[in-house]
Amino acid sequence: MNLLGRMGWGDVVFEPALANPDSSDLIAAGAGGVVVLGAIVALYCLFHYRLWGVFWRGWLTSLDHKRIGIMYIAFAMIMLVRGVLEGVVMRAQQADGLDGGFLTSHHYGELFSTHGTIMIFFMAMPFLTGLINIIVPLQVGARDVSFPLLNALSLAFTAAGGALIMVSLVVGEFSTGGWTGYPPFTGVAFQPGVGPDYWIWSVALAGIGTTLSGINFVTTILKERAPGMTFARLPLFTWTAFTTSVLMVFALPPLTVATSLLALDRMAGFHFFTNDLGGNMMNFANLFWLFGHPEVYILILPAFGVFSEVFATFSGKKLYGYTSLVIATVVIAVLSFTVWVHHFFTMGQSANLNAIFGIATMTIGVPTGVKIYDWMATMYRGRVRMSVPMIYSVGFIMLFVIGGLTGIILANPTVDYQVHNTLFLVAHFHNMLIPGLLFGMLAGYTFWFPKVFGFQLDAFWGRIAAWGWIVGYSLTFFPLYAVGLMGMTRRTASYTIEAFQPWMLVSGLGALVVLGALVALGLQLWVSIRYRKALTVEGGDPWDGRTLEWSLPAPVPEWNFAHIPMVTARDDFWEKKRTATVDATPATYTDIALPRNSMLGPLFAVAATALGFGLIWYIWWMAALAAAVMPLAIIVRSFRTDIHRVIPADEVAAYDLAFRETRAALVPVGRDGEETVANRGRANREAFE
């Protein structure tokens, strides 16, 4: 038996670049080099600066939902960088792609496949999972999620999937089958190498992580709410987190089934989706989109939740149409399971079926439209402050309706027959994913950053980044609508029609602006960390917030609430500020039990990566070992009884009283000084005067 399965020296990305390189090989080797170098630098820093202990105890093994959430988001941002870079390289290729370009079609295929897979599974999903992780327990008045250890395992699975995609840059190759991985093209007859296996196992592992997260969040929201936090009082972000989590639980299984069956086809000679022996790829398309469509709502709903919080907060006003927004959210979630066929109107089914699914698709436009109007009405009669999260949110509204319009267009089978598989579609879904999902995540990041870290993000660079995203997005993707209507197919590395080129050049320029926005985001973080002392908001309420999380210290202590609050209203904190009951000190403090650290998370991350790697390269001993370690670790852990750690009441009391004293001593700041160093996290009461 070969200890390294089907791996050989030739599979390492540097080999072709050394042997007989073309520009594609060099770019691939460069990307592989960056991954290797990045890993070395990270390890060096950890050891050189003796951060290893802190990193291990404070982060990797921590079961604190906030830390897990931060790790999710940090991971998402690293993946965002890779995803955007790939996007920019592809845009550059197409700008240069009239009769050629610098990438081979095969390499372009790997790029759109990793880009799509990364952006969906390893940027968007971790980002929103991280936000939900951090914010939901704070919004419902809980000390943690229901299953803290499970939470760490979810992260481990997601990270393992991401690790596999990173490894694919260095060893072997990635699928060229796109983020959808349609067989038979991804079947063993057409892609016998490891490419599709990387796709299958990275997506499958991420899928497991997501399913577990969904279960965890649903339980948390059902069971961990503070007294008085009825469903009718849940903040909108928590509502959207709840529906998204329900969708995660129900939508991920079809994906797991689809990828598992494809794996059986490839590894064990089954014929679920092969051309011959009764296989049928149409079943894959159905299974994939049975997951895939709800997935896009898993992605967008939490962003809708963020926008709801941001519009209310920065308009200094109650959210308009709370009930409508909740109903719309739930209706969208239910309908999202009834429209998947619109992804393949062109597969040859009857007009009846297409008409039904087309109309179902359009119907989703109604609750979505209602949401937009509700947000407008929230600003109406408010006092609107154009802070950084608000720039993202207004940019979202304006751009998203255009994506909605093109979505309605695509819902029509007759028109879809023309623009399916063209860049019109690519423009449409980026129109939903960038102004919708990504702006939502970035707004949420800016909005809650001070809550989590205790200091604000620098507003100057924040504004540049937000405008950069808005302008860059528009320049990059609006031209794609035009060339899409002209029939330019998606996933095309080069083309022969001259009329496409001017649009591609504009689009390439836009991609550079996006790149600039990304750099601005990085600078914003750097500048903010540098000046964190000045940007501190120790009062915990920098934006004159409305919901429970703003009543807590910033950064939030690991036990979140010294006292589980008694909720008496929607926007509870806002109402308490109005009646000046925030400052009332609780009479007694009690001991708080918190989950102890566990090394199961990092162990699972390593084991799951090894499992995937073993299955991809047919290194059976590695796969078997990894598969055995995971259940064993769970069994061993289940014998441990000392899984909690108690924080004595005295310590809690001291911390809480000190915080209250600090807050009371702060000079309340008006909304004009909101994004300046004058803001120490205590709002004056101008809204009530």
Binding site: A189, K317, A351, V370, A377, R381, V394, T414, T489, I497
Partner: protein, 320 residues
């Protein structure tokens, strides 16, 4: 109905669109924006009417949002009602208008979907039958009644409906001639249908829109629309100067190659550069391409056209 009253406004939109596309920057023959047949024409009309009707719900947002932000900006001094969060009539409007619009659009959608059903034969003369086979990375067109075939080119008569039967002998592909009409998937072991009609003599670009590997971006062909007389002449020319599409020739076509590479393999068939004419077609070829995947033995990778392992047993000793 409501839709009809939009017709008038709809007429303005092509003007708007053409401004958008820098008037005349859309080359003829590549897309449904410059339609050359009834299907593409209807699709363009439909696109415009959906866009116009949807603007009723979209424009208020695009116009209203900046106005609200301006009027209710923090220092704007407009009335501040921090607790205002519900209005019955406004709710009715917010839900009602989109419901109405989606009602109208849904009705149109269903109507258009039935009218433009790709399987529905288009009215007029009895249709010309064409069998289409998607290969890596080129399209093969078989004319069963005429007994001829063409690669990378699809000659067709002007004004006569064409009935396409499509399959793939590799991975899934998607067939589209934008200027003429709908796109449809082609899948191995299965047959899909598409009906088109071209009303203008000309050259129209056809493509595969579904990524299928290294040569994908070159997989285009020309739909050559000609007068019926010219079409008959073409059939005669193909019969006399083309080469036979027999098992050996088909085996060669099965190799993964770009359209240009494939055409080079069959040079000298009288076809214009880049395409190939076949004088006679083995009877039942199309059926056997589909039937191959139904066999109980399966298709070995070495027999799978388009697979990198494709290594067919060469017939008639033309081993290289």
């Amino acid at each position: 109905m409501i839709a009809a009253s939009f017709r008038a406004h709809v007429r303005l939109v092509p003007l708007l669109l053409s401004v958008l596309f820098l008037a005349g920057c859309i080359p003829d023959g590549i897309s449904f924006l410059t339609p050359a047949g009834p299907v593409a024409d209807a699709q363009k009309e439909h696109l415009i009417s959906i866009t116009v009707i949807s603007l009723i719900v979209v424009l208020p947002v695009l116009i209203g949002t900046p106005l609200i932000i301006l009027r209710y900006r923090r220092k704007g001094g407009a009335r501040y009602r921090p607790d205002w969060a519900y209005s019955g009539p406004l709710e009715a409007l917010m839900w009602g208008v989109p419901v109405l619009i989606v009602g109208v659009l849904g009705w149109q959608l269903a109507k258009a979907t039935y009218e433009l059903d790709p399987t529905a034969v288009i009215a007029g003369d009895p249709p010309l039958e064409v069998q289409v086979v998607g290969l890596n990375w080129k399209w093969l067109f078989i004319y069963p009644e005429q007994g001829v075939a063409a690669l990378n080119a699809m000659p067709m008569p002007e004004g006569r409906p064409v009935s396409l039967h499509l399959t793939s002998d590799t991975v899934m592909q998607s067939f589209m001639i934008g200027a003429l009409g709908s796109q449809i998937y082609t899948m191995p072991g299965m047959e899909t249908q598409l009906n088109l009609r071209a009303d203008q003599v000309g050259q129209y670009r056809g493509v595969n829109t579904q990524f299928s590997g290294a040569g994908f971006d070159q997989q285009s062909f020309v739909a050559q629309v000609m007068t019926p007389e010219d079409f008959d002449d073409w059939v005669a020319a193909a019969r006399s100067s083309g080469t036979a599409l027999d098992a050996a020739a088909y085996t060669q076509l099965g190799q993964s190659s770009t359209p240009a590479e494939a055409a080079a393999m069959f040079a000298g068939t009288g076809a214009p550069a880049g395409s190939v004419w076949f004088s006679e077609v083995e009877t039942g070829l199309f059926g056997s391409i589909i039937g191959k995947y139904m066999s109980a033995e399966g298709v070995a990778d070495s027999d799978q056209t388009g697979s990198p392992s494709y290594q067919p047993v060469q017939s008639e000793g033309d081993v290289e």
